[in-house]
Symmetry: C2
Subunit: 419 residues, 2 copies
């Protein structure tokens, strides 16, 4: 598994050059290559686990927390899961070449809008090594070359995984440069990558808010911002209290470290006397700390006092904020002020309030009577996901294969000139 060391620019240039051939590959060719790369991951399990052990050792020595070490660690089962992830992407329909619209102009020109790959996708990510395989597979199936830059904690694992995949691509007779892998993990390489607009068509950062902000501020390549989720649930006056409690507990505690977990509750004041104690009891039973405003604390004095900062906070922890509101309007304007535009839900039996909430809350995913945890490519039926966009340009919400494509206009004439 010898890989020659290339500069960031060379990796990106090679990926751009390889992207043309990949962009016009048939679905059958792409699927066959994906299957072979999955096989190679399995057959190189030993090398991958040895590389991972080096990362784990360095991580333990550096004093990484248990949670981070768990995300970093690989075993035979996790390598198998990566391989089946690649096979699952191979089984998805190919979005490339889909004709989404055709219209004929009065002058006889026939104009079709055809789905095409973006070209080269750059992905900058942090600890989890499985992203290396996932991101490659999704980009490849959507006809895109990719340039991957992972974090230093997982560098040996990522390098071994990328080498196995490249070996698979090469042995299938295709150009391994469709997977560009940046081996240096310093910040300078990231900054260099963010300026290579001539080679990279879109840059997707995956990881902490500070990583994402750094990419947004420094990249001259178009960026899709992903991930940060200060998600709200509004319990309206007419909510079924048991449904509200069940959804809140699920959205907060089913998994706390994820972007679609609920971070803030709004409760209609007219039901607060009964709803707040019910919700508090259920959440406290799950060890969730509640940071509440004064009106809620007047009902449940054992809640912690919220400060202004709490309304904008993404805890990613067993913590949640809680505020009473006077009506749906106040709930909507509070959300539009403090939310990160990810996912919000209203629990209500009132159809007019539900429709107003769905219409006026300016977030990627707006729910009525369901948990915010459903904002996910898998749960939406996309089969695979490269991230969840919280910006409005290009893609919003869960991004699957289609969201990694662009389009071109194909125009067929018989000599038309513009009068």
């Amino acid at each position: 598994m010898n890989m020659e060391i290339k500069t960031v620019k060379e990796v990106c240039k090679s990926a751009k050059e390889a992207s043309g051939g990949l962009g016009i590959m048939s679905a059958g060719q792409k699927n066959r290559i994906l299957e072979i790369t999955a096989d190679k991951l399995i057959s190189h399990t030993e090398e991958i686990l040895a590389a991972n052990e080096r990362d784990m050792k360095a991580g333990r020595e550096a004093g990484l927390g248990e949670g981070l070490l768990d995300r970093l660690s690989l075993d035979k089962k996790r390598v198998e899961a990566m391989a089946s992830g690649i096979r699952a992407v191979a089984s998805l329909p190919d979005p490339v070449g889909e004709i989404t619209e055709t219209f004929t102009r009065p002058n006889g020109l026939v104009i079709s809008k055809v789905r095409v790959p973006m070209g080269v996708c750059g992905i900058i990510y942090e600890a989890r090594p499985n992203v290396t395989a996932d991101a490659f597979a999704i980009c490849f199936k959507s006809g895109n070359a990719c340039v991957l830059k992972g974090g230093s904690a997982a560098i040996h694992s990522n390098t071994a995984i990328a080498a196995a995949i490249k070996e698979g691509i090469r042995s299938a007779g295709a150009d391994p440069d469709v997977l560009g892998f940046i081996e240096s993990t310093d910040r300078e390489s990231s900054y260099e990558l963010m300026k290579l607009r001539e080679y990279i068509d879109v840059l997707i950062p995956r990881g902490s808010a500070s990583l994402i902000n750094s990419v947004v501020e420094n990249s001259i390549i178009p960026v899709i911002e992903t991930g940060t989720g200060n998600c709200h649930i509004f319990v309206d006056e007419s909510a079924d209290p048991e449904m509200a409690v069940s959804i809140i507990v699920n959205a907060k505690t089913q998994r706390v470290g994820v972007c679609n977990a609920c971070e803030s509750l709004l409760v209609h004041r007219n039901i607060s006397e009964t709803a707040v104690p019910m919700i508090a009891k259920a959440l406290l039973a799950h060890n969730v700390e509640i940071y509440a405003d004064e009106r809620a604390r007047a009902i449940c004095p054992n809640l912690k006092a919220a400060s202004e900062d709490d309304w904008g906070r993404e805890y990613l922890d067993y913590k949640i904020s809680l505020k009473l509101v006077n009506d749906t309007d106040e709930a909507i304007s509070h959300i539009n002020r403090y939310s990160t535009g990810h996912s919000e839900s209203i629990i209500t039996k009132d159809e007019a309030n539900a429709e107003r909430f769905l219409r006026e809350v300016d977030s990627a995913c707006v729910y009525v009577n369901a948990s915010t945890r459903f904002t996910d490519g898998g749960e939406f039926g996309f089969g695979a996901e490269i991230g969840i966009s919280t910006q409005k340009l290009h893609a919003r919400g869960p991004m699957g294969l289609k969201e990694l494509t662009s389009y071109k206009y194909v125009i067929r004439g018989n000599g038309q000139i513009r009068p």
Copy 2:
């Protein structure tokens, strides 16, 4: 027409605040307001022409060329044209609220993808004052507030036009801050605007390549790159020579200063002995200078010699480059190397070559047997156009009302939680 002077940040903040109300306005409300702003433009014709005369005087004193002065100048007819432009946009279908997809998940969640406005669009543009009215109307009809920053040459005209429109919005009972107008014309204001990501959702530069590059390099707001067009026409071996000449003359000379004009010709070597003299004769009759490679000059020695630089040049003038190629493959790779990704056309009777060209040329608009001059929102039937995108993220090619929208997912449940 008194307008209080606001800072760039204040203008953008007010536009963001006003955008929420505009985003949920009905088509009827928006159309009524657009009609009233068109009326106001007409009723303020005198002030607008007086302001324009100040710009024209300053322009003449600064020694602006005839072309620029013509683009700057307004008269009664041009003000009327601006007003009818606004009315034309009012008559277009409203894209906001359109449900583009609905699907039901096995757990009963009903997920709809709904078209919503972007929020606030920033437009940075150069000399032509009519852009002030056009850009406002297109943004407004697609539910977006806008922040406009025009060039210094047209500042008095732009200010008068914006004031008349704002008066119209106010008199219709709506919030005039949906049109943010930046009165300062210095570069610092542009740089300040490009950093206000919290208020502006997308930034669209319209103008010269240097303006566009400056925005791409300095903006932390998502940008849609527009405009630069090094458009190619490839005359294949099987081309009908008369059709080729007619399309080439149209694409080069019908209007030379526009981004969809043809700037470079590729001719199959097997027909070059007859085709090159025919094409040269027709173009020279239209005073077009031809910069040709050695092989073409061996056939027509009176052509000028092309240098390597000519292949990448957008002349925007009565000039064109010409090169012989050995086959369709060479034409495609030359185009993918030198083109700006705007519009390219193949003239051919060979269906296989046409399909390969359409598939493999990586540009926004790819044509067979038609002039590149059709790349235009009006010619595509979009009714209005905010620019032509040459990037792949979000929108590609002519951008109409739909291309100024994003989407949200609306999810309706009855208590679903994630297992």
